[in-house]
């Protein structure tokens, strides 16, 4: 905090504070650098270096990555993750906007309907009754479940944030549009949605990240490996330590110049993280705005 008269008086506390935050930041950045170096290291390089990587790759090979890119489950996993992130986010934001806009207007039963939505934030049937429902709906082993099942298509919290944003748009705009003969549909799509673009962008990003990171629905509702999302494959490979997946990826290589299993796992983690890391610098400020939007509005 730059207090007048106190500027640049660096005390012991400041050194401690800066050092602490540098340590915290390093704890985030270093594991990523370590994984990157490990994934690019060759078996011989690792052996020569005594088995470990610190900062730079030991030896250099892309084989850990090319080994995975030969795997069909990487493509299908990526496909379903990208599919749900794009289609799921689009439909979710579209349907949530429709409902949020209606709730921001004077519709009959508004209070009842709002309560009907909000109640589900505090009480749900739970895991098993939802599972039985999904089963009865025939959505088991069906990729549509990624888009339809809760909490994805409608998220009450996001919907209320959108509604609060619509409430801040002056009624006079809608009024003049109505006088010009515009109906509710035109008003929503040609006037309200463009005005709500900042809120829509924020909510879209939240929904998209949730979709990218989701794994539990794929794990419990979808059994066929070729329909599961990428996160589930990474989970199987590293957390459940499925030997089958690993040996599949490795059989292309003869023992001598094959990357170590650790390099391949590091590559697998990075393959899943890279899209988030790539878009993160650009979208970060929208997320921060969104937290403030959700907290202060109302």
């Amino acid at each position: 905090m730059a207090v007048a008269g106190q500027k640049n008086k660096f005390t012991f506390f400041d050194y401690l504070n800066y050092a602490g935050l540098i340590v915290l930041s390093t704890s985030v950045v270093y594991p990523l650098i370590y994984l990157l170096s490990l994934s690019l290291s060759s078996r011989e390089g690792l052996v020569q270096a005594g088995g470990s990587v610190w900062l730079w790759p030991q030896g250099f090979t892309w084989k850990a990555y090319t080994g995975f890119l030969d795997q069909s489950y990487i493509y299908s996993g990526y496909f379903y993750t990208v599919f749900r992130t794009i289609v799921g986010t689009f439909l979710s934001v579209l349907f949530m906007s429709l409902a949020a806009y209606a709730l921001a207007k004077a519709v009959p039963f508004k209070k009842t309907i709002t309560f009907y939505f909000i109640f589900t934030m505090f009480f749900t049937g739970g895991l098993i009754p939802t599972y039985i429902l999904i089963k009865n709906l025939g959505l088991i082993n069906n990729p549509l479940v990624y888009i339809l099942a809760p909490p994805y298509l409608y998220n009450t919290f996001y919907m209320l944030i959108l509604r609060n944003f619509f409430l801040t748009i002056p009624d006079s705009l809608e009024e003049s549009a109505k006088m010009d003969g515009a109906g509710d549909i035109r008003i929503l799509f040609q006037i309200m949605m463009p005005l709500a673009a900042p809120a829509l962008a924020t909510i879209s990003l939240w929904v998209a990240v949730n979709h990218w990171n989701s794994w539990f629905d794929s794990l419990i509702y979808v059994q066929s490996a070729d329909l599961q999302v990428i996160q589930v494959h990474i989970r199987k490979l590293i957390i459940e330590q499925s030997a089958l997946l690993m040996s599949d990826a490795m059989e292309f290589y003869d023992q001598a110049n094959m990357p170590t299993p650790e390099s391949m796992k590091a590559a697998a983690i990075l393959i899943t993280m890279i899209p988030i890391l790539c878009v993160y610098p650009f979208i970060q400020r929208y997320f921060v705005k969104g937290v403030i939007l959700g907290a202060v509005k109302g």
Binding site: M1, L24, F122, G125, G126, L127, Y131, I269, M273, P281
Partner: protein
């Protein structure tokens, strides 16, 4: 969870501000709607806003199917559910599953673990966001602050599958970085994720790692609203760094701190399913198995649908009561709760 208020639109006052318009023989009233039209019949109101109701229809149907049908589905907690007979066809057994649950040593273990882990998180993880916010606020260099913020927010965007995978890799007893360091200094490698003494500390530390940066945003926003003149006056009076933090910054954000704490307490039945599910293994079940992971294993792995639903229902009812109490408390502190 962050708090929001469901603000009703004050239709009548808006209507007083604007006179009615007349155009092409139709009359338009500013703010025409449910409240303003109580003299109209319900049918007319519905016809009038039929497009808006149509916008709401998919949401109402979706919530009915995906939330309210499973709420009816909890009746299997009082039945002997079998897939072939269905929910309606299965026979009632009363509170049998609940009696079995309260007698079960597994249940008391998972309940205890849930409460222990979430209490530890309340004590260590929840304040970490406040500390990061205070630390960031004391920096002199804007650029440095921005960089630290960008870096520390990042783990919030990783799923627990990713963070769990990173931890499994870093903590691996044979090839993990941490154990390489330990052995380089002549120590014995430790299988961290399979040691009961290490598991819970790892949960707490990794949760702090993931959430402290992101958790600081709301406090930073509150700090930004503090009047700089207060700091200037305090400095003139000879107050040092810590006294300014203690007497100005903290009291100014006390409301946010209290509200966030109340909601954290209301959320105490959730010890963090995603995190624990991606880190635990049978060797540490004794300290790591929580209600949610237990419901998952008993229900979806062992197919004990009714018993698992009973445990889940117990958890949801207690959680609901806690959240309602938390909200009441939040309103008492002069703040808008969730409604």
């Amino acid at each position: 969870m962050i708090y929001i208020r469901i603000a009703p639109v004050d239709v009548t006052s808006v209507r007083e501000m604007y006179p009615s318009f007349r155009l092409k023989g139709k009359s338009f009233h500013k703010g025409d709607g449910f409240m303003a039209n109580q003299h109209h019949s319900l049918r007319k109101q519905i016809m009038k806003s039929k497009i808006l109701l149509l916008f709401l229809l998919p949401a109402v149907v979706w919530y009915f199917i995906f939330y309210y049908i499973p709420m009816y589905g909890v009746t299997i907690a009082f039945k002997d559910f079998s897939i072939t007979k269905g929910i309606l066809g299965s026979s009632w057994v009363g509170f049998e599953h609940f009696e079995r649950m309260f007698d079960s040593p597994d249940f008391s273990r998972v309940l205890r673990n849930t409460l222990v882990i979430s209490t530890l998180k309340l004590v260590f993880v929840y304040p970490s966001g406040i500390f990061v916010a205070l630390a960031l606020n004391e920096l002199f260099h804007e650029k440095f602050k921005k960089v630290v913020q960008s870096i520390t927010y990042l783990p919030h965007f990783f799923s627990w599958v990713i963070i769990g995978s990173i931890l499994v890799e870093l903590l691996s007893p044979s090839t993990g970085l941490v154990n390489q360091i330990i052995t380089a200094f002549g120590g014995e490698p430790v299988y961290f994720l399979a040691e009961k003494a290490w598991f819970v500390p790892i949960l707490i530390l990794s949760d702090i790692w993931q959430s402290c940066g992101w958790g600081s945003i709301i406090y930073l926003a509150a700090i930004a609203g503090v009047d700089p003149q207060l700091y200037e006056a305090a400095t003139m009076d000879g107050a040092g760094r810590f006294r300014r933090i203690w007497h100005i910054t903290l009291p100014s954000i006390a409301n946010v701190i209290i509200i966030m704490m109340i909601f954290n307490v209301g959320n105490i039945m959730n010890a963090g399913f995603d995190q624990i599910f991606n880190l635990y293994n049978p060797r540490v079940y004794e300290v790591s198995d929580i209600l949610d992971t237990y419901v998952y294993r008993v229900g979806l792995v062992q197919m004990n649908y009714s018993f698992s639903t009973a445990v889940g229902l117990f958890k949801n009812v207690v959680a609901l009561i806690l959240v309602l109490l938390a909200n009441k408390l939040a309103n008492k502190f002069g703040h808008t709760g969730l409604w």
